[in-house]
């Protein structure tokens, strides 16, 4: 059913720490590895060794540069997967009922047997979390590794999403946001976790921890600049070259 549950018993999701992520893409690979051979259709690749490879991934890592008003630019690696929104627009637009949000844990899933591959859910998602598999013609998305987290054939420490299990930096955390004392709830509170595109009204469950403020020494302004004006012969050359037509920039 594409009607969203009014509330879910648990709210399983991820906390992604933008301060800690090193942008290694290990989560992307482990996600693809696990999900291509487990839940649903495999994640196909098109032209994987050609000049324009394309494939289905459920998790992608962007990299951004953030330049504050005062201070140097900072690189931020930004992993992005389904945020398992409480008010998931991808679910309500689905004409067949293939997309649904689970009442027991809030995971948003696609029943691939019912998916007609119309692509409307991917249009409705502001985050680009859904990708149509080009070989199978059905919509693929993060399942929060629903086939790992409840899997009693796996050892206890493996019962978490593949991306969380593999992250070498510990930048990804998995837990229940409905429990105020869970690891993810506490992290979100302590580090002022944020929602992506809150103006869309999707109420995402996954939270992002913004980068911590960078250290700045109070002595910085008094330190001598490293790159000085050239002196001596180089200084003379610099000034002469400036005088030529075209001048200095």
């Amino acid at each position: 059913m594409t009607e969203l549950p009014t509330s879910t018993t648990r709210k399983l999701g991820l906390v992604i720490d933008l301060d800690t992520c090193v942008g290694c893409h290990a989560c992307v690979i482990s996600c693809k590895g696990w999900n291509t051979e487990n839940y649903g259709a495999p994640l196909s690749d098109q032209n994987p060794y050609g000049d324009e490879p394309m494939g289905t991934f459920l998790n992608r890592v962007h990299t951004y540069e953030v330049t504050p008003e005062d201070g140097p630019a900072q690189t931020v690696h930004f992993p992005k997967s389904c945020l398992h929104c409480e008010n998931a627009p991808c679910v309500t637009v689905c004409p067949t009922g293939a997309s649904y949000k689970r009442i027991e844990d809030g995971i948003v899933l696609v029943n691939e047997q019912d998916c007609i591959g119309c692509g409307l859910c991917a249009w409705a998602c502001p985050y680009g979390a859904r990708e149509m598999d080009q070989a199978e013609g059905v919509m693929k998305k993060c399942t929060l590794c629903v086939d790992r987290i409840y899997n009693e054939n796996l050892s206890e420490e493996d019962r978490e999403p593949a991306c969380v299990r593999t992250c070498p930096a510990g930048a990804r955390h998995f837990g229940d946001f409905a429990d105020p004392d869970s690891n993810v709830s506490r992290l979100t509170k302590e580090r002022n976790g944020i929602d992506l595109m809150p103006e869309m009204g999707t109420a995402p469950v996954n939270k992002y921890l913004p980068p911590r403020p960078r250290d700045a020494s109070p002595l910085t302004p008094f330190l001598a600049p490293v790159a000085d004006e050239p002196v001596g012969f180089l200084g003379w050359l610099d000034r002469q070259l400036d005088k030529l037509p075209g001048g200095s920039d």
Partner: protein, 290 residues
């Protein structure tokens, strides 16, 4: 948004077909016999042809019937149901006119209402998407409905109605374009809100997550077609809304009437191409594009 030919064909022709069905349904003295057959055949060819075209872009067309189940939340599902109901009701209305010469007026009114409902539900599929600010406005259903009514009037030879409706539809078209040009900016969604890093400073996409375009970029970050926007808008406006009334004023109504319809269809097809090609999906922001 990627302008898929199947969706452009679908919205252009089915809009026209359901517009024609509306006028046939409310006609106080509708045609009977062979004339009725010809009108309804054209209307069905357009509306059913358009609906079939829309299934071409599905990954699994054989499961299309499942799309009728989720009418409680899904505009796409509502559209499917509305279209089938309209075609069934008008089909009965048409059969009575063609074979028995019976005019079952209430059946026609119901069919006309369902035909307009189909165009409205089609437009709501786009209107509901907050992720595409250019579409997310009541002007979208106004545009779709007025174009459908104007096209139907034109196709059924209702010259007086066609004049005024083409004028109204043209005005909605201009208003829709004008609003659309600032829609993304006015939506308040930026790379800053998309990443949540906007409060720290200016955000710039430094390196994308993959080296060549993926499904998301091919489907929702279509930018190549925006170059000739102004020229295409002019063509759409002239062919769709300005040329047809001029042709209607000329003698030889059958010849110039047919040309007016063809000109209108060409204009609307261009307008629909722009409807997709120009529209920005907010996911493009993550890629530093729009």
């Amino acid at each position: 948004m990627h302008p898929a030919p199947s969706v452009i064909v679908f919205t252009t022709f089915s809009g026209l077909g359901f517009g024609l069905l509306f006028w046939l349904g409310i006609d106080p003295s509708p045609p009977t016999g062979w004339v009725a057959f010809a009108f309804f055949a054209i209307a069905y060819a357009l509306s059913v042809g358009g609906l079939l075209a829309s299934t071409f872009h599905l990954g699994h067309p054989e499961r299309a019937m499942k799309a009728l189940t989720q009418w409680r939340t899904s505009w796409l599902s509502r559209e499917g149901l509305c279209a089938i109901a309209a075609l069934l009701v008008i089909g009965l209305f048409a059969a009575l006119l063609i074979f028995f010469g019976i005019h079952a007026a209430p059946l026609g009114w119901l069919g006309a209402l369902l035909s307009l409902g189909t165009v409205f539900t089609t437009s709501m599929i786009y209107t509901q998407l907050k992720t595409v600010p250019r579409w997310n406005t009541p002007l979208t259903p106004a545009l779709f409905l007025s174009i459908s009514l104007a096209g139907g009037a034109l196709l059924s030879g209702r010259v007086t109605e066609a004049y005024s409706l083409l004028f109204i539809a043209g005005l909605f078209q201009i208003a829709w374009w004008r609003r659309g040009d600032t829609a993304l900016r006015n939506s308040g969604t930026t790379l800053g809100t998309a990443t949540g890093l906007g409060t720290t400073g200016t955000v710039r996409s430094f390196s994308p997550p993959h080296t060549s375009p993926n499904y998301l970029m091919k489907e929702m970050v279509f930018v190549v077609g925006r170059k000739h926007t102004d020229k295409l808008r002019l063509f759409a406006l002239l062919l769709g809304f300005v040329v047809p009334p001029i042709l209607l004023a000329l003698p030889m109504p059958h010849l110039f009437g047919a040309l007016a319809v063809l000109s209108h269809i060409a204009g609307i097809a261009i307008s629909r191409w722009l409807f997709f090609a120009q529209s920005e999906h907010v996911v493009g922001l993550y890629y530093g594009a729009r």
